[in-house]
Amino acid sequence: MSVNPELLDTVFEPTEPYRVGREKVREFALAVGATAPLHHDVDAAKEAGYQDVVAPPTFPIVIQEKTLQQLLAHPGAGIDFSRVVHGDQRFQYARPLVAGDDVVATLRVTKIQSLGGHTMVTSQSSIAATSGEPVVVATSTLVIRGDEG
């Protein structure tokens, strides 16, 4: 099985709205050793001008993951999940993500590249408020190891 080159530029359906929860932000922050008060203390966040606690920079992976599942499950994609390794990851923010945000994520496949028997699939998941305001773009490169890898 190999990656279908026609995946390039495929845009998937936006995900169901995701509510960024205050306790989820705190739980995630604890798990990644993020001790800054902005991630935990509502008063500190409000004093700094945010509506609620601020999600740590990598929190959007939780939302992006839902779009990556769409990609991996796509019957025409030809991606063998057991051979997938995470190669690169990036988050580009228009503004911080905060508790109380309702967001949807839309994935587009932006690059497919073969290198040394492996295939690299890059996708961008645009995460926007349900109002349409862009918040963060999460970009992943997945490496699909070849048969000989």
């Binding site: 989820k24 990644v32 050793g33 690169d88 911080p96």
Partner: protein, 142 residues
Amino acid sequence: MASLWEGNEVGDVVTEAIFEVSRDSLVRYAGASGDFNPIHYRDDIAQSVGLEGVLAHGMLTMGLAVSPVTEWLGTKGFVADYQVRFTKPVYVPATGSVTVSVSALLAQVDEPSEGLATLALSVSTEDGTKVLGKAFVVVSPR
């Protein structure tokens, strides 16, 4: 208004941290993130796909590595761009822990506007293995 990097010059290490990553850390991260891939908690499954054993979620390492940066940044600004390449696995022993060290160096500043600053992260395990490559954080004033 003071710049984000006040008191530091390009080339300075602005913040550092050391994390002890144990199997407990992986369980906690799995629950918090929803990533329940068994290679992060079962040695037999990790070994069946050619790994030495259980390894940390790459996204856990990426998350840990930026935590000292948000602590350092406080309320002065926010992380506008954060990227890494996963270069080596972080193997986590069944008992005890592996030490992951993070160092953030001020790599570039936007002088005229005192706006954005770029930090280069160096992230390695106790044996000196660099586990993230091309790890950069751009911080922005609010």
